[in-house]
């Protein structure tokens, strides 16, 4: 397993090689982060073309500022932050009223509405493609401010601290959003999978 120090040293080496403009270093950076920041951008913007635009601009900005980068945060976190800010800018151009950074109380947690255990369903009941389609629908229904935290924490596997650094949220707001996102997605997925399952096996549900 990769250690924190090992990771830090790797990043320092990569940064030094990038500053020397070594082609291989840029290829490594692109390989490591392009899909990650694509998913981050996609989580906010939903459109593939717009997310690709963010990836392009984020790398261009990193290249432009490479020699001024002070390395207070990690290279990856820096790139994520650039991509996050670019995505937010684009989202605001589209929908000026969108609010991502309020940390106010979001009210009580909604009580679970759909309580059905679908976790033990035989795999034959639903195909992977059907499940994937429902996952896409469920996450598309999640408001952006929750979606981005969920994607960074669960899909990318970042820590609460890293997620908070990238989004500029407090640790507690990051945790609250993750919690609400999980419950929302559970609810959506349970509802849609049960519906889908009952169409297939009407007498055994």
């Amino acid at each position: 397993m990769e250690t924190e120090t090992g990771h830090h040293q790797d990043e320092q080496l990569l940064l030094a090689a990038l500053r020397q403009r070594e082609a291989q270093a840029f290829a490594t950076l692109f390989e490591l982060y392009s899909d990650k920041i694509y998913r981050l951008a996609l989580s906010l913007l939903k459109e593939e073309a717009a997310a690709e635009g963010v990836v392009q601009d984020a790398f261009l900005r990193l290249i432009e500022r490479l020699d001024q980068f002070e390395g207070r945060s990690g290279l990856g976190t820096w790139l994520y932050r650039i991509a996050y800010n670019l995505s937010v800018d684009r989202l605001r151009q589209r929908r000026p009223e969108v609010i991502l950074d309020d940390e106010g109380e979001d009210g009580r947690l909604p009580a679970p509405m759909h309580v059905v255990d679908w976790t033990q369903w035989p795999e034959q009941l639903l195909s992977d493609a059907e499940v994937t389609a429902e996952l896409d629908k469920a996450i598309a229904a999640l408001p952006e401010k929750f979606r981005v935290v969920f994607v960074l924490r669960e899909v990318e596997g970042l820590s609460t601290e890293e997620t908070a650094q990238i989004t500029g949220l407090s640790l507690s707001a990051t945790k609250v959003r993750l919690h609400r996102a999980r419950l929302f997605l559970r609810e959506q997925l349970t509802q849609s999978l049960v519906l889908l399952g009952s169409e297939k096996k009407p007498y055994e549900m």
């Binding site: 290829a27 261009l60 309580v115 996952l135 996450i139």
Partner: protein, 80 residues
């Protein structure tokens, strides 16, 4: 512990961030409450599915084109 509190602590429970005392209370509740157990299991399964299948990638052709353009910009940016 009541259902409402279990729901409040659910993520901390899943992430093993609850104190020992609260973990024990949560486990006692889960042992007797079928509904909360279903909510816990289906939440964990939801997380699992997104971790497994949420990894969208840049379409290959666009990715190659993007990389080519950026590598060029990277090389051109070399300070003189």
């Amino acid at each position: 512990m009541k259902c409402e509190e279990l729901l409040q602590y659910l993520s901390d429970y899943i992430d093993r961030e609850l104190s020992d005392a609260l973990t024990e209370e949560a486990q006692e509740h889960l042992a007797t409450c079928q509904n909360c157990r279903v909510v816990l299991d289906s939440t964990q399964q939801t997380i699992f599915l997104f971790r497994e299948q949420g990894k969208r990638t840049i379409p290959a052709q666009n990715r190659a084109r993007l990389f080519g353009q950026l590598q060029e910009a990277f090389q051109r940016s070399k300070p003189v």
